[in-house]
Amino acid sequence: MSTHTYKKFEDIDSGTLPDKMTVYQECLQAFNASTIHAKRCRLLLSRLLRLLYAGETFPKTEATNLFFSTSKLFHHNDSSLRQLVYLAIKELCSLSDDILMATASIMKDIHGGDILYKPNAVRTLARVLDGSTIHAAERAMKNCVVDKNPNVSSAALVSSYHLLPVAKDVVRRWTNETQEAVSSNKVFPQTQYNMHEHYGANRLLTATYTYQYHALGLLYHLRDHDKMALMKMIQQFNTQQPLKSSLATVQLIRYVGKLIEEDSNLTQTLWPFFPGWLKHKSDMVELEAARTILALPKFLSEQQMQAINTLQTLLSVPRTVTRFAAVRILNKIAMKSPEKIMVCNLELESLINDANRSVSTYAITTLLKTGNSENVDRLVKTISGFMDDISEEFKIIVIEAIRTLSLKFPDKHKSMLNFLNDVLRDEGGFNFKNAIIEAIFDIIKFIPQSRELALEMLCEFIEDCEYTELAVRVLHLLGEEGPKTSNPTLYIRHIYNRVVLENSIVRSSAVIALSKFALIGNDSITKSIKILLERCLQDVDDEVRDRAALSLKLLSTKDVEQAKDFIAPAFKYSLPVLEQQLALYVNNPDKEHFVHPFDIKTIPTMTEEEAKATEFKEKTTIYDEPAVQTHEASPDEEKVPDSTKLALLQQQYAQELGAIPEIAACGRLLHSSAVMELTEKETEFVVTAVKHIFEKHVVIQYNVQNTLTEIQLEDVSIVSQPDNEAYTEEFLMPLDVLRAGSSGSIYVSFSRPEGIVPAVFSNTLSYTTKDVDPSTGEPAEGEEGFPDEYQVEDLSIVPGDYVVPAFTGNFTHAWDELQNESVAVFNLGDAATMDLQDVVLKLVKTMSMMPAESTDVVTSSSSHTLKLYGKSIGGDKIAAIVRLASSSKGMMMKSQVRSSDAELSELVANYVE
C-alpha cells in the first residue's frame, strides 16, 4: 500500500468518525450505479457500519434510502460484500420499516447460499421476521439449527433466542432440533478456512463446540417453567451425553445453581454432579462450580470444603486470570465466613507478592478478613510496607477492608487507626482520602472507645487538608462528637484555627461546629464560645457572619432546649423520603396546591440510634450480593440501599393507608411488617399480607394477585378469623373486581388490645369467578359466575411486630442497664435437618431486632450465641441473648430477654415460631 493511500485511511485509527452526509451520499451513488464495484462498496459499507456502531442514526427517509440502495447489492455475488450487506441491513432494520423487502433474498441465501455468508443471512433473518412471517421461515430455521456446520447452527440458535419474544410458541416447536444440536458433534469443515493461506488448518481449532452453549441457553428458555424437564436436561447432559464445551458446562452449572436457589431441597439431589465439575479439565468450570457451591447456603460444610480445596489449587496455577478469579471468590466468602478459608492462608500469603497487583490486593484484603485477633496486627504491618507500591484504586479497596475489619474487631481499633493515620498523611487523591475519612468516621461511630484517639487524628488532618469537602465533613463530625468527650476544649482550639485560616465554606461550617460546644452546659466554655463567635461577626463573608449571628442569638436565649433543637437536633429527617416528598410537592401541576406551605412534619424522623442501626446494617452487608446472578433482573431496578427502600416503603404504606378514610381514622401508623407470603408463588391466586400496627388497631393488608389470564374475580373478600378474642374485627374493605392478570389489596381492620397479644389469624379467600372473553377482556354479559373459596396459610401476630431493630454500640452495657429478664428454653427439633445460619437469620427476622457485635454470622457448626437489640413501638428498649446448640437430642435454644417492660421481655422470650 503506498503512503498516499495509507494516509487516506488514517482516520480509521484516529477515532474521529467519517462525515455522516458524505458517507450517505457516497453510499447511494455507489450502490445504485449500473456497475457495482465490490471492493469500493465494501469500503463504503464498513464506513457506514462504523457510523452506526458509534451510535449515529439517520432520519427515517435517509435510512430507508440507504436500506433500498444496500438491498440492490444483492445482485452482486461477492461473498465478502454479501457479509457486509447483511451486517448493514441488521443495523438499518431498526431505523427503517421496509425491512421485509429483503426477505426473499435472505431466504434464498439460506437455502442455497455460500457457507461463508449463510450464518450472516440467518442472523439477519431473525431481525426481519415478525409474528406473521415467522411461519414461512420455520422450516428453514429448523434445518439451520441442525446444520452440520457449527457456524450456521450457532447463528440459527442465537437467532431463535432473539425470536423468543416475537413468537415464543413457534420457537417452542424447535425444541427437538435444539436438543439434537446440543448433543451433536459438529466440526468446522476442512475446506472452510484452509483455503486462506494465512491460516493453516493447524492454527485454527477444528471444533469449539460453542454451538452447545447456544443450544443449551435456548433449550433452557424453552423449558423455563418446567422444573422436571430442567432436571431431566441436567441429568442428561451430565451422564449420558457429557457436554464438550466448557462454556456450556459453565452455563449448566448456573442453571443448577438457579434451581437450587429456587428450591433448596434439591441441593443434595444435585450434589453428585459437583465433584466431577470440581475436577474438570477447564479452569472456568472448576471456578463456576466452586462459586456456586459457596454462594448457596444449603451445601454441607464438607461439600464447601471440597470447593475451597479446588480454589486452593487454582491459586497456584500459572494463569493469571484463573488466579484472579479464584482469589476473588475467596475474598467474597471471607466476608461471611472467614474461618472456612483459613486453609488457603498459606497460598494467599504467597500471592501477596504476585506480579499482578489486582491479584495481590485481593489476596491481602482476603487475608485481612480471615484475620483473627492474633494475626491482624501482623497483617496490617505487612500492608503498610506494601501501600506505596499499589495504585490508588487498590489502596481504596485495602482501606475498605481495614474498615470492615475494625468494625469486626473493635478491640483492635488502635492499630487500625494508626495505620489509617499513616496513610492519611501520604499523598493521595480525593477518593482515596475520602475512603480513609469514611473509615475513621465509621470507627468513631461504631466503636465508642476509639473516639478520642480518632478525633485527635482528624484534628491533625484538617490542619493541613487540601479538600474543602473533607474539611467540612470533619468539622461537622467534630461538632457532633467533640462535646461528648471528656476534654472538649481541645477541639475548640483546632476548630477555631480553621476560622482563622481557611476559606469561607470551611469557616462557616467551623462556626456551626463551635456553637455546638456551647451547649455542653459548662458556663466557662459557653462564655469562651460566645467570645469566639462574636469575633466571627467581623468576617468578610456573609454566610459566616449569618451563621455566627444566628448561633449567638440562639445561645443568648434563656430557653436552652430550643437552642438545642436548632443547633444540635436530636433527630434527623429521613433524607430519601424528604427528597421524594419535595419533588412531589414541586411537581404538582395544581397551582392551588402551593397555597399550603410544604409540611415538614410529614417526613419521618429518625433518632440518631435508629439511623446508626440502619447504617451499620448496610456497612456490614455491603458485600452480600445475590448468590447467583440472574440476568433477568430488570435493568431499571436501581441499587438503592436497604434502609432507603425500607423508609420509602414505610412512607408509601403510610400514604396509601392515609388515602383510605376509614384507615386514616385509625391514627398514626406505628409499624408495618415485612411482606408475608400466604401462598406459594406459583399458585393461581398469589396472596401476600402486610401487618400495619396502629395505636389501637391492627390493619392487615392482603395483596391478591390474579395470575390467570382468562378468569376475572369479583367480590373478592377475606374471611380472617383470629384465635384470640382480644382482637375483634372492625371493618373489611373487599375488592369489587379483580381483573385477569391484575392485583389489588383487601384491608381488614381489627381493634388492638392493650399491650402485646400474640394471635393467629386463619384466612380464607372468597370470590366469584367469571370467564373472560379473551378478545374484549370483559366477561360475557349475563354470566353469573361461580362462588368459590380458597384457604390460604395462617398469619400470626408475633411480638416481633411490635419491635423495631435498633443499634447499640455497646451491647454489654445496654444489656446490663436493662432489668426484667425472662428466660426460656426450647428444643427446635432434629438438628441434622437444620442449618445453624438459617435458624439465626430466621430468628433475626421474626424477632425483628438488630444483631449486635456481628453475631448474626455463625462461626461454629455446633453452637452459636446471637445478641439482638431493638426497641418496641412504645419506646421500650429490649435486648436478647439467644444461645443455640445442636446436639444429638436436637437443636436447643435458650433465649434470655431483658427489657424495660417486663411483659414485653416475657413475650419475646417465649415466642418461637
Binding site: F68, M101, A104, K108, A136
Partner: protein, 183 residues
C-alpha cells in the same frame, strides 16, 4: 490475467455492458417462474415473493440484471425504489385472471408515469396461455390500454412460463430495442 482478456474481449463484443430489467406485475402472475425459466431453463417451485429476487443472466452477449419484485399489494409501493437506471420493464399479466385485469392496468399506467422510467422499453407477457380460458394477447393488450401509450417502445407477447413458450421471443425483441435505443 484471464480477467483482463475477457474484459477486453467483453468490451469488443459488448458483453461487459450490464443492463437492468425489472419484472413487475400483480401477485401470482408468474414473475418468479419466468425469471428462473430464463436463467436456469427450469421451472422451479415458487412461493409468493416477499421482497425481490435478483439474478444475472447473459443473453446474446449482454449481461442482464433481472429484478423480480414481489407483486403483493403490500410490496407494490416499494417498486419505485428500484426504478432508477432501468433499461426495460417486463410486465407480466395472468391472462386467466379477468377480474383483476383492471387492477393490473391501473398499476401499469401508474408505473409508466414515473420520471425514472420515461426511457425504458416495455414488454408485456400475456402469461399462462397454457391454461384454458386464457385471454389472447390482443385481448390483454386491449384490456390494458396499451395502444394509448405514446413515446414508448412496447410489445406484447403471449407466453407460457411453464412450457417456456414466448419467453425468448419476447426477450429477443426487448434486447433489440435496447441495443438500438440505448447503446
Amino acid at each position: 490475467m484471464g480477467n483482463v482478456f475477457s474484459g477486453i474481449f467483453g468490451r469488443l463484443w459488448g458483453v461487459n455492458k450490464e443492463i437492468r430489467i425489472l419484472i413487475l406485475g400483480l401477485d401470482g402472475a408468474g414473475k418468479t417462474t419466468i425469471l428462473y425459466k430464463l436463467q436456469m431453463g427450469e421451472v422451479v417451485k415458487t412461493k409468493p415473493t416477499i421482497g425481490f429476487n435478483v439474478e444475472t443472466l447473459t443473453y446474446k452477449n449482454i449481461s442482464i440484471n433481472m429484478w423480480d419484485l414481489g407483486g403483493q399489494t403490500s410490496i407494490r409501493p416499494y417498486w419505485r425504489c428500484y426504478y432508477a437506471n432501468t433499461a426495460a420493464v417486463i410486465f407480466v399479466v395472468d391472462s386467466t385472471d379477468k377480474e383483476r385485469i383492471d387492477v393490473a392496468k391501473k398499476e401499469l399506467h401508474m408505473m409508466l408515469k414515473e420520471d425514472e422510467l420515461t426511457d425504458s422499453a416495455l414488454l408485456v407477457f400475456a402469461n399462462k396461455q397454457d391454461q384454458p380460458g386464457a385471454l389472447t394477447a390482443a385481448e390483454v393488450s386491449k384490456a390494458l390500454g396499451l395502444v394509448d401509450l405514446k413515446d414508448r417502445s412496447w410489445s406484447i407477447v403471449a407466453s407460457s412460463a411453464i412450457k417456456g413458450e414466448g419467453l425468448s421471443e419476447g426477450l429477443d425483441w426487448l434486447i433489440d430495442v435496447i441495443k438500438e435505443e440505448q447503446m
